[in-house]
Amino acid sequence: MPPRKTIFQYAYARSRDQDAATPANHPVVISGAGPVGLSLAIDLAQRGIKVVLLDDADRIGEGSRAICFAKKTLEVFARLGCAEPMLDKGVRWSVGRVFRGDGELYSFDLLPEAGHRMPAFINLQQYYVEKHLVDRLEALPLIDLRWRNRVSAIVRYADHTALTVETPDGPYDLATDWLVACDGARSPARAMLGLPFEGEVFEDQFLIADVRMTAAFPTERWFWFDPPFHAGQSALLHKQPDDIWRIDLQLSRDANAEHEQRPEIVTPRIARMLGHSDFDLEWVSIYRFQCRRLARFVHDRVVFAGDAAHQVSPFGARGANSGVQDAQNLGWKLALVLKGEAPAELIATYDHERSEAADDNILNSTRATDFLAPHTSAERLLRDSALDLAPHAAFAQRMVNSGRLSMPTAYAHSPLSTPDGEAWEGGVPPGAPVPDAPLLRDGEPTFLSDALGPDFTLLTWCTLAAKLPPSVTHVRLGAGHLADGDGLFSARFALPPQGAVLIRPDGHVAARAVAFNEAWLHAALARASRGSHG
């Protein structure tokens, strides 16, 4: 295949640091301007932190990369101030269909309930997501984005990190309190630190193609087991903007990748799938999927995020989505530490919480990949039996796995959570991400996700006599305030009349109380930020 086409071009510019007599010192350097590095940079800048963002390229290129952006990620992008152009451009979807042979086995709806500001998913080429993030970032003077700046050496110290950066004008040195490596699945930073990336590499190969065509297929995720156009294997079809369609075709283990990528081989294969050859191949690549992770994501003052920290197979849209959620988890913590409002140990909870998420994603991704590509004949027999029974028995349908789509992980064992003091019926437990809910302000519709503060948020029905710390935004529910018109807030939160829910800056529940009191709030805040309050 030809090299990746450039979609958006940027320019290298010499920075003052390259002329400094001694290495400049920065609070945060991020390596890698992909969705994760860009999201983190914007989040930190919005929290008042200066960021240097380095990228080895000077362009955003094409390629079959992430396309499915989940509701939680879109909520993060909304807080970063760049969701609207993505929602305008992206293809919204929530229904998936699973076929076997030429019949439909079943369909599913990922967002069956109303009352969320964001759709379950949008499909949008990663290059558009990156473009919108760069557009947003360019309005933030605290971010210094340096194209064609490649990190070539890293030296770890207990309290800082030293870097060498290669540029078209030659190398220069930098020092940083924190280095965040968002440099992708092949992370050079990981290699420079000699850190093993352990896990499972699947033997099966998958051909991933983006084709351009006009077609009237609905905007749904279509997945086939053993389709007539690709016997014995699986296939996936997904719509993207600009009349681009993503196609994944499973290949045999011993398929010759070089051969399979040739247009004269790929084109007839896809023509059989689509029933016509009126399409253009935009991009073709062959992958062996991997589920791997670093044992730890924090090494002194070097933090790994996104694919650099953990890699999953793509069935489930858990790569870019979990990476953006890494950034969301890290941003507020790093900001508190850099402002001296929390001890450096708070960063250890990033490792703890996002490890829980990585393990959850790897587990789901491994289960799905194994279901698509059984290892042995016994496994295939079991898989095919589940497919046989699926149309006739609900239990078997639930076992059919064409990818379990990305949901944010609840941090069930987080040291930042305050355990419930009283028994709760329903609601959102500590560590879990808060769901959205429709609300009314002066009779006008709005959403809970729009009301959350930049730092902590306290939800109550009742008025509070206590004076709250400046880091806490009080959101008062109820008639005359934010009215729960449809009753969905009540149904989702089960908040008692005198109760309170404390939400972290990343939208996970820190603590909840059946009856609000000041001592509870201060203790919960102190716990959630490890000593910065109370």
């Binding site: 076997r100 019949g103 439909e104 086995l105 789901n364 289960r367 194994d370 279901f371 290892h375 042995t376 004949s377 016994a378 496994e379 027999l381 079991l382 039996s385 589940a386 046989d388 029974l389 149309p391 006739h392 028995a393 609900a394 239990f395 078997a396 349908q397 639930r398 076992m399 796995n401 379990r404």
Partner: protein
């Protein structure tokens, strides 16, 4: 047929249950896998302990691959 046989999904995490069975087969020869399946059928049949349910389960298992997919 009365519906004594439960075909609704009963596991909180069906993927985990499926995975447990898959992992039990890892590293076995084909003959060993068949034997494992057979023993598992007998164990679960006894656990069910109901001839009506067992007969219904057998009927569904036999028909499974040949029944047309409902429209």
């Amino acid at each position: 047929m009365d519906d004594a046989l439960v075909t609704d999904s009963r596991f909180a995490d069906p993927d985990a249950a499926y995975r447990l069975i898959v992992e039990a087969h890892r590293g076995l020869s084909e003959a060993e896998s068949h034997a494992l399946n057979a023993r598992l059928v007998l164990i679960l049949a006894n656990h069910v302990g109901d001839m009506v349910v067992l007969e219904q389960a057998l009927r569904l298992a036999k028909a499974g691959p040949t029944l047309p997919i409902p429209a």
